[in-house]
Amino acid sequence: MLLRVRDLKTYFRIKDGPARAVDGISFDINEGETLALVGESGSGKSVTALSIMQLLPQPAGYYAGGSIELQGKDLLQLPEAEKRKLRGSAMAMIFQEPMTSLNPVLTIGFQLLEPLLYHQGLTREQAYVKAITVLGQVNIPDPERRFHEYPHQLSGGMKQRVMIAIAMACEPKLLIADEPTTALDVTIQAQILELMKELQRQKGTAILLITHDVGIVAETADRVAIMYAGRIVESATCKQVLANPAHPYTVRLLQSLPSGEQRDRGLQTIEGRVPPAHRYPLGCRFADRCHVVQTACRTIDPVLLPIAEEHTAACILYDERQQGRRITPVEVRTPLPPRPRVDNLATGDTLLRVEGLKVHFPIRRGILKRIVGHVKAVDGVDLTIAKGKTLALVGESGCGKTTLGKALLQLIRPTAGRVVVNGQDLTELDRQALHPYRRRLQIIFQDPYSSLNPRMMVGEIVMEGMTVHGIGYDRRDREERVKEILGQVGLDPDVRYRYPHEFSGGQRQRISIARCLAVNPEFIVCDEATSALDVSVQAQILNLLEKLQTDLGLTYLFITHNLGVVEYLADEVAVMYLGRIVERGKTQEVFQNPRHPYTQALLSAIPKVDPHTGGEKIRLTGDIPSPSTPPTGCHFHPRCVHVMPQCRAQYPSTVPLSASHSTSCFLYEADARTVAQGNEI
C-alpha cells in the first residue's frame, strides 16, 4: 500500500462557519496503480489533492481529522521540514493550467534543476545530465536547446510535458495530476495521457488522477472514486463503474454525457446544484437532486456499503437494514425513453452563405509599424448554413473557429469574402446599415463569467438589445417580455433585479441565452457555449438549446472542440484546421466515415467511455503550426500519416464524396474523378 487516506476531513474557515470541502473520505492507492477521482466542480476533488500534497492555503484551510499515510508515515504528523523533503521526491503534482504553473522569467532548465539539486543532492553537472534525460523521456525534441528556453517559447502541450518532466525528475512514488489535460486540445491530450501511462509503466509510479472527463477515466484509470459534496459516493474498478453504476449520482452523471447514442433520447440532467460546503443537508447530500429519492434519504446519512467485490456505494438503496427499499438498481439505471427528434431539415432554405471568407490580422513591427506578415486566422472558408439546422464547427484551439464565428456577425470585419444573408452581403454594410441585421444574428459566448456585465441587473442585461432595436413599444411592454423570456429559459422572472455574480455558471449561461432571445434572432453562434460548464449543467443547457430550436426554429452555428456534443446535437459538421475547412458533411457521415486524415485522428483521439469501440488509435505527433506561417501545400502535411510529395507542393482542392459530404485531401482526388466520370457515363 503506497497511500492510505483514512477519514480525511479538510475544512475551510469562512464567515458562515466551517466549509467542509472534504468531509471524511478514505481511499488507498497501490504502487503502479491509477486511481481516478471524478466529480463536478465544488465536490472537493482539488482540495483532496492539495491536502495530500500538504499545500492547503493557510491559514484558511485546516485538517479537522483523519490521516494521510504515505509509505506508512502519517503526513499530518510530520514537521514542515520533513514534508518539504517528501514533496517533489516521494510525491509530485501536475496542475491544470500549464501556462501559469511554470514561472515565466526562469528558463525551463532552471526550473527542472531545482528539485534535482534540492532532493537528490546531485552536482550541477550530474543534475544537468539527468535533466536532459528526463526531457527526452517526456518526448521533448532537442532537449539541449529547450533546456535554455523560457516557458513562453513553448506550446501548451510542451509546457505540460515540461511540468510532467519536473514532477517526474525525482522519480516520485505518487503523482497527483489535477485535471492535467483540461486546458489542452484533444490531440495533445491524447499525447499527454499516453506519455503518463508510458512513464507509469516504466517507473511504477502510482497516479491519483483528478478529472471530470469520464472518457479519460475509462482510458487511463484502474479504479474510480466518484466524489460528491466532500464525500466519496461510489468506488469501484473502472469497468464496474462504467458498466454497472450503482449510485444514482453516478448513473445520472454517465447519462448526461452527450454522445451520438443519446441523440434520439435527449440528455438526462441532474437538476439543481451541489450544496454549498458550509450548508450540507441533514441526510444524504444528493437527496435534493436525486431521481429515486425516498423519505428515509432526508434523515439517514448513507455510508459506503459493499455491493459487489471491490465495489462500494453510499446509498440506502443498497442498505439491507432499510426496509423501505422499493426501487431496484435496474430502475435507477433506466434511461430516458426515445423521443422523436423533430427534423426541420425539409425546408432546405439557406439562411446564411459564406463565400471565400478571409480574416487576416496584420503583424506590425518596428517604429513605423510596417506590416511584416499576416496571421491568417481564417483563410478562405465557404459555408452554407441551412435554416433551422445546427452546423457544428469543430477544430482545435488556434484553428480560427472563433474568429470565423465572429466574422460572420461582423464583430471582426473580414479581410475578404462575402457573408450573404437574404441576398445581402453583410461585409459591404457600414455600422448603420448593419444595424437591422444585428437583431437577426446573435452570439452566445463560452465564459459565462465574463459575458455578462457585472454592474448591470439581469433585467437590464436582457432588455438592452430590445431597447436598441425598439422591440416593444414602451418600457412596461419590454418588462413583460423580459419576464416571459426568462421563463422560457427556465429562470424565475424575479431574477430581473439581481446581479450576474449571484448566479452559477449554468444559470448565467441561461441569462446569456435569454439576452439573445430577447431580440428574436434567427441565427445564433454558440461559441463553446457549454465548454466551461459541468457535465450535468451542460446537459441542461444543451436540452434547452434543442428545445428552443424546435419551438422557435432557430439556426445554430455550434463552435466547439467537444465532439460528443457535436455528435449529439449537430445536423452537419465542418472540421477546421488552420483557417480552412478540411471536411464537412452530415454528422453521421463524418462520424461514421471520417475521410480526412485530420478528422480521423481527431475522432480517434477523443477518450471513449467504452474503450472497445475506438478501434485503432491514430496518434498525431507535433503541435498545430502557427497561422502566421502555415506549412506550404496542405497545412496538415507535417502531422499527416499519409503524407505524399504533392501534399507539400500545393493545397488540395475540395473533393465531393457524396451530395453532402466533402473533404480537401489528395487521397480522394482519384476517387472523385471516378465518381465524376461515373456521373458522366
Binding site: K406, L409, L411, L434, H435, R438, R439, L441, Q442, I443, F445, Q446, D447, S450, S451, L452, N453, P454, R455, M456, M457, E464, G465, V468, H469, Y497, Y499, H501, S512, R515, V519
Partner: protein
Amino acid sequence: MGSLLQSLWLALGFQPVILWSDILIYLLLGCGGTWLVFALRREDWQVALRQVTANRVAMISFCILGCYAAIGFLDTLHFRVVSASTPNGEGIQSVLDRLSAPLVERTEKTYSAPFATHLFAKETMQTPDGRQIRDFPRLQHAGTHLLNPDDKWSDIGKRLLIGLGWGLGIGAGLLLVIVWLGHRLWFGVFLLVATLVVTETVVLGQSYHIFGTDKTGQDVLYLTLKSVRTGLIIGTLTTLIVTPFAILCGILAGYVGGWIDDVIQYVYSTLDSIPEILLIAAAMLIFQVGLREEETIISADKRLIYLCVIMGITSWTGLCRLIRAEVLKLREIEYVQAADAFGVSRGRIMLQHLVPNVMHIVLISTVLRFSGLVLAEAVLAYVGIGVDPSMQSWGNMINQARLELARDPVVWWNLFAAFVFMLGLVLPANLFGDAVRDALDPRLRTR
C-alpha cells in the same frame, strides 16, 4: 437699484461677498445634491447607500468629513461689515472669522508654545525698580488671569473639568435624544465625543493658545481652522476637474483607438515627461504677471483656483493611463462584444458597459489623489509656488515650521497642528472611499 441694495446692506450691517471659489463650491454642492436626489430614486443606489450606512467605520468617517465640510462651508460665507462711516465696507470676512474672533484678536508678539504663559523668545524688559532684565515675557492674551504662572496646570485641570461637565451635559442630552429618536447608538456616542471636543476647545481656548502661536503671534488653532477650506478646495476641486477629463480621454483612447488613441497618448506622454513642479512653477509665474492689483483676499482666491486647475492639468495623466489600460482589456471582454453584436451604439457601450466597470479604479485613485493633493500643496508652498502666502493653508504652516525645526528648543506646534488636522481629513477620506467603492461593486455587495 444699486443704492437700494446699498441701503439694505447698511440696514443689515453687512454686505455678502461672493468670491470665485465660493461660486464653485455652491455649484459643487448644487450638483452633488441634485445627483444624490436622482441617484436615490434608483433601487441599486439605495442598496449601496444602505450598505454604506450600515458600515460603522464609514459612517464615523463620513461624520468627521462632515465636520470638516461644515468648517469649510462657514469659511465660504463671505461678507463685508458695512456701517455709515464705511459705506463701501471693511475688509472681507467669513462667518468662520467672525465666530473665531476671540482667537483672531488675541495676537501675541511671536512664537509661544501650546498652553504657555510666556513668550518663546527672551526680551529685554524693565522691572518696576528700573533694572533691565532679559527674560521670557508673559503673554498678553493667554493665562493673564493667573497671578502665579506656576498655577497653570491646576488651572488647566479645573477648566478641563468644567469643559467635561458642559460637554457631558450637552452630549449626554444629545445622546438621549438620538437614542430616543431610534437612531443608532454609535451616532450618539460620536456626537457626545464631538461635543466634548468642542466644549473643551471653547473653555480652554478662551484663556490659552491651545496649539500655541506662530511667528507673527497668530493663534495656530485659528490658522488650522482657516486652512480647512483651502485643503478641501484643493482636494475636491482638482479631483473634480481631473476625473471627468481623465475618464473621457482614457475611455476614448482605449475603446475607439486609432488616431484618437495616438493623440491622447502623445499628449499625456509629453505632459508626463515634463517635471510636474517645473510645469506648475512656470504656470504660476505666468499667472502672477497677469494678476491685477486687487484686494489681497480676492487675488489670493483667484490664485487658489488657478493652482487647482494647473494641478489638475498635471495630474490627470496617471488616471487616464490606468483607465486606458483597463478599457483595452474590457473592450475584448465578452459582454462588450455581446453589446456590439446587438448593435448597441459606441457611445452607449462606453456609458453603460465601460464607465461603470472602470469606476472602481476612478474611486480608488480619486481618494488617493485627494490625499495626495492635500499633501502636494505643502510641497508647492515649500517651493514658493503654492497658494498665496496671505492665505492660510497647511502647506504654508508646514513651510513656516520647516524653518524653525532647527531651533532649540524645537518649535513643533505649527507642524503638529497641521499634521493632526491633515490626518483627521485624509484618514477618514480614505476609509470612506473604501466603503463607497465596496458598496458600489455588486460583486462585493452583501444582501
